[in-house]
């Protein structure tokens, strides 16, 4: 519609238009929901400080400690790589897991459920957007960290490295999608759980040291977080002495990551359907603050 000079309304040019369905709608939804993450988030310039400078400070602290105690030089590379991967963990913890809860608070969740697109596409959009945005931060941390501390890489197998990274991301963001539904059920408790999970996961996931040092059972438990195995395998593939510090062989870690990816993605789909059903039956999950 458009307003004429007399103030009356005339029909708009595009009154009857086609709306995509099926996979086209799915892709459009993923792109649409990833947009605020990729573009919107860049407008908040504080990310450079919180997501690059602060992780680099933590990396530096570990590097200085390792050098002071005369730890093998590979540990410096491990720390830089771990520092970069923490960005993904932070993103999943704070921007994926608790996201549906915030969407509910904002009043967006009801609009998402009511839209013809699937909720899994919405969640995937969040994940893709978060992955793209965090990828930039991780690359900056690796580049700057490697330059400052003179880290040398020697990739044994580029294909395996790519596969490990992608599987770790699929499994990690799949876990994030799954926990988004879980956190929605827990409502305000989600905030405390995120807080509670942050530091212990830093420790047991081996962001700043090889998890082999934790002993088999603790390392196996920590491997429930996909980044643990992903990071361990990547370290084995990019540092000549990495294999010595590896927890399991790269092939076994890849196999476990494949299983995790499938389980987490299916779990996310099932939990989302459960939450949507609960929202419709109980009517309490689509309430906004209003």
């Amino acid at each position: 519609m458009s307003r004429t000079s007399s103030g009356t309304i005339t029909p708009v040019v595009h009154r009857h238009f086609r709306k995509n369905r099926g996979w086209r709608l799915f892709i459009q939804t993923v792109v649409g929901r990833s947009y605020p993450r990729v573009i919107g988030a860049q407008r908040e310039k504080s990310w450079m400080f919180f997501e690059i400078f602060l992780p680099l400070m933590a990396v530096s602290a570990y590097v200085f400690v390792y050098r002071a105690i005369g730890a093998p030089e590979e540990y410096v590379g491990f720390v830089v790589m771990g520092g970069a991967m923490t960005a993904f963990w932070m993103n999943v913890l704070w921007s994926m897991s608790s996201q549906l809860y915030w969407e509910k608070e904002q009043g967006n969740l009801a609009l998402y459920i009511m839209a013809p697109s699937s909720m899994i596409a919405i969640l995937l959009g969040m994940a893709v957007g978060g992955l793209a945005m965090t990828g930039v931060r991780a690359i900056v941390i690796v580049v700057v960290g490697s330059w400052i501390f003179d880290v040398q890489y020697q990739v044994a197998n580029y294909l395996q490295l790519f596969i490990v990274f992608m599987l770790a991301m699929v499994a990690l963001y799949g876990m994030g999608m799954m926990s988004a539904s879980l956190f929605l059920l827990l409502s305000r408790e989600a905030w405390h759980i995120s807080n509670l999970a942050q530091e212990p996961i830093y420790l047991v996931s081996g962001f700043y040291f090889p998890i082999k040092n934790l002993g088999f059972w603790l390392a196996a438990g920590a491997s429930l977080i996909p980044l643990t195995l992903g990071l361990d395998a990547m370290r084995q593939l990019v540092f000549p002495a990495g294999e010595t510090y590896g927890f399991l062989t790269v092939e076994v870690e890849i196999a476990i990551l494949v299983i995790m990816s499938v389980v987490f993605l299916l779990g996310a789909r099932w939990l989302l359907a459960y939450v949507e059903g609960l929202a419709i039956n109980e009517g309490r999950l689509t309430e906004s603050r209003r």
């Binding site: 519609m1 458009s2 307003r3 009356t8 309304i9 029909p11 708009v12 040019v13 595009h14 009154r15 009857h16 238009f17 086609r18 709306k19 995509n20 369905r21 086209r24 709608l25 459009q28 939804t29 792109v31 649409g32 929901r33 947009y35 605020p36 573009i39 919107g40 988030a41 407008r43 908040e44 904002q106 009043g107 967006n108 009801a110 609009l111 998402y112 459920i113 009511m114 839209a115 013809p116 697109s117 919405i122 929202a279 419709i280 039956n281 109980e282 009517g283 689509t286 906004s288 603050r289 209003r290």
Partner: protein, 339 residues
């Protein structure tokens, strides 16, 4: 008859959880609601806060399941065929804060258009045109967090119309808007429905004037029940044979409303204390009853400051049906919640 919305014996009971040791309480939000909204109608749901309007909209927009009865939108069952209903509907709520503050108005609207499968080219064109209509075109590239409440609501309104739904639900769309912005929204809503009579719009409001001015038909709802459903004009003719007066008198100290209501022929009296005087809204069976009211006032040494006879409004219809004003119902329910 082609119905856009149909409900039959529709009911909804909420279970409210107390502490761990207490049994959940049941709250009946809707009871046996039968509604039929024709295609092309601008239908209003009028009732106080807590009457069940939003619950009904949630059921019709597939966000909430009914506890009993059934509902159809655009010919489809809200439970069995929710996926067929969703591409055909949209909803805007008053005071909603949907979207993302970091995105501009255009970007937020574009994002929601993507969830409905509208291609970027069409979406951007429609966004521009609709923003023009609601007078928000100059703010297209403003971050939505920088918009005032009124402008933000205009953006929400555009979001609802952007997908050109067959059935649009507006839940208190003018809530919190100033007089001018409310008028603009009402004008736009009326023009949208008049432009194409295959569109249907269901509007909930607790503003009587809004329902009277906009709606083809109105259902008056209170405590989850539909009390009456017809055009505003027909609803008001129910009170045509009554005499409705507004009287301003010196403060009613010592005189209770019940004393007026005990007089023969007085159907309802509502007392609204004002600064320095009392306003009385009275529904009387006939004009002659007024003399008894005047006698009561003069015997209590009260002075009549002003007296008007007026045409019935939807407010009077509500009072006649419920026995109290919408304002009083809302006040009572607020006190109940606080207690």
């Amino acid at each position: 008859m082609d119905f856009a919305i149909q409900t039959e014996r529709l009911g909804r009971i909420y279970k409210i959880r107390g502490g761990k040791k207490t049994e959940p309480k049941e709250l009946t939000a809707l009871q046996n609601v039968d509604l039929q909204v024709r295609k092309g109608e601008l239908f209003g749901l009028l009732g106080p806060n807590g009457a069940g309007k939003t619950t009904l909209i949630k059921i019709l927009t597939t966000l909430l399941g009914p506890s009993s009865g059934w509902a159809k939108v655009a010919g489809y069952d809200v439970i069995k065929d929710a996926v067929k209903i969703r591409p055909r509907i949209n909803m805007v709520s008053g005071g909603e804060s949907s979207g993302y503050g970091l995105l501009t108005v255009r970007e937020n609207l574009w994002m929601f258009a993507q969830f409905y499968g509208i291609t970027s080219g069409v979406a951007n064109k429609r966004i521009r045109e609709l923003l023009e209509v609601v007078g928000l075109a100059d703010r297209m590239n403003t971050k939505s967090s920088d918009l005032s409440t009124g402008l933000r609501q205009k953006m929400n309104i555009v979001r609802g119309f952007l997908t050109d739904p067959e059935v649009l639900f507006l839940d208190e769309p003018t809530l919190g808007l100033d007089v001018g912005a409310s008028r603009e929204v009402r004008n736009f809503v009326r023009k949208w429905i008049d432009e194409d009579r295959t569109r249907t719009l269901l509007l909930t409001t607790h503003y009587m004037m809004e329902a009277d001015e906009l709606c083809d038909r109105v259902a008056i709802i209170n405590q989850g029940k539909v009390l009456a459903c017809d055009s505003p004009a027909v609803l008001k003719t129910r009170l045509q044979k009554d005499a409705i007066f507004r009287m301003e008198v010196s403060p009613l100290d010592g005189l209770a409303v019940e004393q007026f209501e005990r007089l023969a022929g007085v159907r309802k009296v509502i007392h609204r204390p004002q600064d320095g005087y009392s306003a009385l809204e009275m529904i009387l069976e006939k004009d002659d009853v007024l003399s008894a009211v005047v006698n009561l006032l003069t015997s209590a040494d009260k002075h009549i400051l002003n007296l008007n006879k007026r045409e019935p409004t939807l407010e009077d219809v509500f009072v006649a049906l419920v026995g109290t004003s919408m304002e009083e119902v809302e006040r009572a329910s607020t006190q109940e919640v606080e207690a």
